[in-house]
Amino acid sequence: MPATPKSHIARRGRGISRQMTKTNLVTAGLSEGSADRPLAPTVRMCPADPPLRTLTVLGAATRTLVTTYTDPGDRVLLIEPPVVARAVGSPRNPVRLDWAAVVEAVARLGRGASTRQTTPRGEPAVPLIRAADDVRATPDAATESEAGLGLDDPDRTIPIAADWITALDSVRPAADRFDLIIAAVGAVHPGTDPITAWAHDLTPTGILAIVTHSDRTYGQLAAPGRDLQRAARLAGLTLTDRLILLHESPPPGLTITDANRTAIMSNGHRRIHSTVLVFTPYVSEQDTAEAHNA
């Protein structure tokens, strides 16, 4: 478990005054503030047309996640699912346009929107500290772009040795990190490397939201949730929430017919939801107490 950077504690302390300032702004009708948001339920409506493809679900989920976990001015990183990455270079493919709409939606909400492509599984691990630089430098690996209110990245071209990571964590400016990273992972676990890289790109109070779902193979359900949580824990993240995104309103009645029962016994229920695993950098109780005493 990596040591909690001092900046984390400072940010937490700052968070209170930040919220108080925002409360004043909200009173004046100028801004939305997290302290004034109603408490959100674990189940959210995110209508999406079947079939529930990864990009469709991600598009529906992005607005919900951005408004739930960030304030205007925060930086959001959207991880392009591999299916979108494959569509690059085929102008007739509308998938690419849909992805642009997702990014634009984030920018319209007043957040800085950056995008990055998922590194396909099986590629060699990218040194953590250089993940952002390497993926930009290699044309067929991954690319990053930015739109909206996000700040410029001051050190994106500076090569830093991987073994300096721990020491640099405490002095590295927050500008190259993100308050929210949104990624979509299918039923196949992507491996630990991408999650480690995403964890490194989070601000100390940032949130990694992974939209995922289970898939049925030969009558058995495969769900990547447990593996994702293990990988996240290894990357110093802790699970704080598990949201259910409801893509279709369930009927109010609960009647089961014989035909339905037979279909359920054969192929299970029809999937109308996705799951969002929400992770934050781990903070020990001791850190929190020290921050309060400071």
Binding site: P41, G219, T240, P250, A263, Y282
Partner: protein, 260 residues
């Protein structure tokens, strides 16, 4: 085979009636505490989905008897195991109410998984349904071991083609959210069960097609508000996870004749 779109979805609107309304006139008041882990509406929906009238339902942790009573009311044979003697009187009172309102075959109650009467159980059960209890803080590993042992024992009792359904309510500890569904799935797979479905039963009320309003306790709401004010927001619980495990998909017993 019905059209795919007519097959019920993975999310169930089981929270439209409050817990108080679900328990009214059917259960004694002291049932409320136990109903938090598995409400009557959820139990009834699972029973009617995975069994037919005349089938046998088993609850290895009967508690206040919600599964037992709902199974009787939907005309299923039922076997319960008393794992919590503190709620024995509540269980008896609820059972009496169920028998008065819907007389069917008497429930078979066992004192534990090693009860001598359990010797005839292997292969006799169509559905095992239970709600996980809230484990004591710091007792997660012991809890997992208990789940493993329980599943290991009762897996043999289920008829091939039958199901074991475990309902998990999201739980938190000082480090965040506990991955209850993941742990149960691991324990189940370790004893050879297959995860065949993962559904979501709403405990909050569905408001049109727009939102789900949670029915959280005052304690849960305060905890969420406090955490949000400290900069670590988490959502108020509005669902439970329903994990469906299959014993074998090879065959299924024909429906038992329904008693008049």
């Amino acid at each position: 085979m019905p059209d795919d779109l007519t097959v019920p979805g993975t999310v169930w609107a089981t929270g439209n009636d409050s817990l108080t309304a679900q328990l009214r006139d059917r259960y004694v008041g002291a049932t409320r505490k136990d109903a938090a882990r598995l409400s009557p509406a959820i139990a009834r929906h699972i029973i009617t989905t995975y069994t037919r009238p005349g089938d046998t339902v088993l609850d290895p942790d009967a508690g206040a008897g919600i599964v037992v009573c709902e199974a009787l009311r939907t005309r299923r044979h039922v076997i319960g195991i008393h794992a919590d003697n503190q709620q024995h009187e509540v269980f008896e009172a609820n059972l009496e109410l169920a028998n008065l309102s819907a007389p069917y075959a008497p429930a078979t109650m066992l004192d534990g998984v090693d009860d001598p009467r359990a010797a005839g159980l292997p292969g006799a059960v169509d559905l095992v349904l239970t709600g996980l209890r809230r484990s004591a803080p710091g007792d997660r590993l012991a809890d997992l071991a208990r789940t493993y042992e329980l599943l290991d024992t009762i897996a043999d009792w289920v008829w091939p083609g039958g199901h074991i359904v475990v309902v998990c309510r999201p739980e938190r500890d000082h480090r965040g959210l506990v991955d209850g569904p993941g742990r149960v799935t691991e324990a189940a797979q370790a004893v050879g069960l297959r995860l065949v479905d993962h559904c979501i039963a709403l405990t909050g009320k569905l408001i049109g097609d727009l939102a789900v309003r949670p029915r959280a306790s005052r304690y849960e709401t305060r905890a969420a508000a406090r955490s949000r004010d400290n900069g670590v927001p988490f959502a108020v619980n509005a669902h439970v996870d329903v994990l469906v495990f299959g014993v074998s998909a090879d065959c299924r017993r024909p429906a038992a004749p329904v008693s008049p």
